[in-house]
Every structure is written in C-alpha cells, then in structure tokens.
Amino acid sequence: MQKEASRDGPPRSPVLSVKNVSYWYGSKQALDDVSFEVFPGRVTALLGPNGAGKTTLFSLITRLFDAPTGRIEICGRSASDWGAKALGPLGVVFQQPTLDLDLTVKQNLRYFAALRGLKRKEADERMLRALKALDMEERIGERVRALNGGHRRRVEIARGLLHSPQLLLLDEPTIGLDDPTRRAIVRHVHELARTDNIGVLWATHLFDEVQADDDLLVINRGKIIARGKAKDVVAETGAKDLGGAFRLLIGGETEEDIAA
C-alpha cells in the first residue's frame, strides 16, 4: 500500500485504495483500469458527466457488485479477502434516497445503528451529536416523509457518520437540492473531513462543489482522465476555472474554443 508524504507528520496510509479495476455490463465496458487512493482528512472529488462510471465505481466499493478485476481496499482490507467485514470503516450516502419514509428520523437512525452493532445508549448519544451538527436535532421525532429533500439528505449524512467511519462515500448527495442547502452540505462535509480526519470520496458533476484544495479525479467513459489537486488540474489545462478545465478534458476543446 502506498503512503502519502504528509507535510505535518509521518506518511499516511490511504483509507481507500482502488487498483486497476475494470468492469463490464455484458459487452459494454463501464470502468477501464481505474486506480486511485483517498487519504484521511482529505476530500477527493470524483467529477464526471452522467454515465461516466461513478455509480458503478461506488457499487464496487460498497460491494453491491463484485469487482472481476483489480483490487479495492478499505483501510487496508480487501473485500475479496475480508468479505463484508471490509465494509466496517465505511459510511455511505447513496445518490438515491435510502431512508424509510414511514419511520421517524430517530427510528431510521436507530435501525442503522443496530446494523452497525452500536449499543442503544451509545447510538442515541451519537445520533444527537450528528443531528445537532447538521441542525436537525429538533426534527428527530418527525417522520421522514414530512421532511423536505434537504433535511432528508442531512439525515442521510448523519446516518453515514453514526458509526464514526474512516471513509465516507457520497454519490451525488446534493442532487435535487436548492443552492443554499447544497452549499451548506458541501461546507459541512469539508469541515468533517478536517475535524474528524475522515477520508471523503465525493462523486459529483457539479463544478462548484469542488474546492480548489480538494483532490480531484476526472472520470469520463469509465477512465480516469485527470488527477491531482483541483487547482493544479485547472492550471495544467490552462483553463480559467474548473468548468473550463473539465470541458477541455472531456471534450478535447481548447480554452479558446470554449471562449469562442
């Protein structure tokens, strides 16, 4: 396993390591030799257009699909060696809403805490803490059906953090949300990565969700076509901003073409 040289201390091991992973749906190749790493305390943005392979990659990391080639390790544990146990340090917020609409926020979170083996008392304490951080503690007794989209997303993020994961996967978590809610969630997740030293893999196709200092992976047609710090990727392409850089990368256009 490779280690990242840290400016402030000893090298850090990646919380997620994806090596040479390819995947096919029948004859259609969805992922082509994908490799990357996610480090603790860092947000890694996986930027790609719809159908680029982001959800397939998430399905492989979460073991919803089995990777036929390559290797995926979460905190040094591969699902092929450790089975479901490898998913222990993982928190996930799926693109599709996954809360039980007929249960309350508390009941949903308690159910998840039970699946993660948390004691009731400990679960309740963590639940309150996570909801408070997301300004949702007053909605704890409400049925999820009564919450708006933004609040449901916050509950899903709180749920993803309940068991103190070392790696948080977010698959386009802000889809369908209004701008202020979207920005609040982006800010909160970046704070979490810093304060709780969580490695975050954030799949998105929205440029403004990526911060200049984030690690960036650009994926298109199942291939990682650019990687590095977001600001460096922009600089390398000569574009004015990430949107321009992205268009150059996936379309092969020059900055002048985009300007024209």
């Binding site: 749906y25 308690r110 039970a114 083996g117």
Partner: protein, 272 residues
C-alpha cells in the same frame, strides 16, 4: 464482528419489520379479513355440501371449518411471505435495501434475519386469526396452539424464502400483480388446504399429482398434524428441504459475485 453485533443487527431488523407492520394497520386487517371470509362464508356453505371422512391426524369426524383452518393459516403465511417479497422489491426501489446490503455482516445472515422478521410478523397474524376463529366455533386441541408453533415457524420460513427468491427476480413493484396470479392462487387452490388429497384424486388425477408436488400442501399438512400433537415426517422433510433450497437460491441471487441482482442493478446503472 462480535456475537453482540450480530444480535443487535438481528434485533434491529426484526424491530424495523414490526414497526413497519404496526404502521400498516390495513395490512394487518387485510391479513385477518381474507381468511375469515373463507372461514365464515366459504366454510359455512361447504360444511353442508362436503363431508370429511376420518383421515389422519383426525380421529373422529370434524367439521369443514376445522378442516380448512390449517389451510387458512398457510394462506396467511403465504400472503405474508409474498408481502415480504413485495416489501423487498419496494426496499430495493426505494434504496433502503442498499443500506442493509452494505452492512459489514455476511449477506446470508442479513437475508436470514430479514426472513425471521417476516416470520415473526406472520405469527402475530396467525394467532390473531386463531383467536377470532376460536370465537367463531373452531375448536382445536388446546395444546395444539403451542405444538403448532414450530411448524408455523418452519412453514413461514419456507414461504418467506420463496418470497425472497421471487423478489430477486422481480424488476419492478408493478410486476407484483403477476405473483398474485401465478404463485399465490395456484399454490393455494392446488393443495390440500380446501379439500383432502383423496377427494382431489376422485375428482381429477392430474390435479391430485399437482397438489402432491405443491410445497404448500406439505406446509398445510405439517401444520395440521402439529395441531394434533403429531409430526408428519414426510411433510417436515419436504418443507425443510424446500426452505433450504429457496433460501440457498435467494442468497445466491443476492450474492454480489454470482447473483442476478448484480446484472439487474448493473443494467440500470449502465442505462443511467
């Protein structure tokens, strides 16, 4: 993963199923009303028209409503098993199945826990029906209410496992109507639930053979004998064997390496 983790996860899965069941009161009443209509209306009519000879496990002549009670219990459990299947398809469409399947516990354990949760829900329905049936004059051996419990658990497991297997093959919620037409009704009618097998044989030999190879028949017979403090070993073997078979196929279907779930979800992801 410690034993306590498994225990808490199991408790959580059962608790969620019970909560959902309690919130769907219509489901409870529908589960109760359906067999009661059969018992009160259908059985009342047939009581006069149909004589039941003395066949094991009965040691004397019995009324028709006593005869069909085990079949109606099987019906409750069959409907509940299919309801679980519907609920799994719903969970898959709504995404909550992903939460369950990305838990760091073996998939067989998660599916088995889900199955047990469904069985526990079905037992509430079964004993509520038996209580109403008792007040409608259906008298069964008092100890039978207890001795039938293991048989009810096993038959509930078989129907739940069948439902789980079917849920892995159903693409959309809308397709559930097909299950009603092609699974529930044929299984119920082509069985010993409404008529004894010998009577079926008199009427139609081919139908008799269909009934004989129908696992529902054997679940009903297992429950029937258990109520009279007897074990029908043939029924026990067939029901246990079918449970294991359906369960193994369900775990296979939901396994990320081999299962049909992967192809199905994958096709959707590729389209998206």
């Amino acid at each position: 993963m410690s034993f306590m983790h498994y225990l808490r996860a199991f408790r959580g899965i059962v608790w969620r199923e019970l909560l959902r069941f309690l919130q769907q009161r219509e489901r409870f009443f529908a589960a109760l009303v359906r067999p009661l209509i059969w018992l009160i209306i259908f059985a009342a009519g047939f009581r006069a028209a149909l004589g039941i000879s003395i066949i094991p496990p009965y040691e004397t002549y019995i009324t028709y409503d006593v005869y069909i009670t085990p079949g109606l219990l099987g019906m409750i459990q069959l409907f509940n098993g299919m309801q679980s299947s519907l609920s799994m398809v719903y969970d898959r469409e709504m995404g909550s199945m992903r939460v369950l399947l990305t838990t760091p516990l073996p998939r067989w354990f998660l599916l088995l826990s889900r199955l047990f949760a469904g069985v526990i829900v079905s037992l509430f329905q079964v004993y509520a029906f038996l209580l109403v049936a008792y007040f409608c004059g259906v008298e069964l051996p008092p100890l039978g209410y207890l001795t039938a419990l293991p048989a009810l658990v096993l038959s509930g497991m078989m129907f739940g496992a069948l439902g789980m297997l079917l849920s892995s093959t159903i693409k959309q919620l809308e397709n559930f109507a097909g299950i009603m037409n092609f699974v529930i009704f044929p299984m119920f009618f082509a069985s010993s639930a409404l008529y004894p097998l010998w009577k079926m044989r008199e009427g139609s030999l081919w139908l008799y053979y269909i009934c004989l190879y129908n696992p529902f028949t054997w679940a009903v017979e297992l429950i029937r004998f258990a109520f009279y403090l007897e074990i029908n070993w043939q029924a026990l073997g067939i029901v246990a064997g079918c449970t294991l078979l359906f369960l193994a196929l369900s775990v296979w279907a939901y396994d990320p390496s081999f299962g049909i779930q992967q192809r199905k979800v994958g096709a959707a992801a590729a389209a998206g």
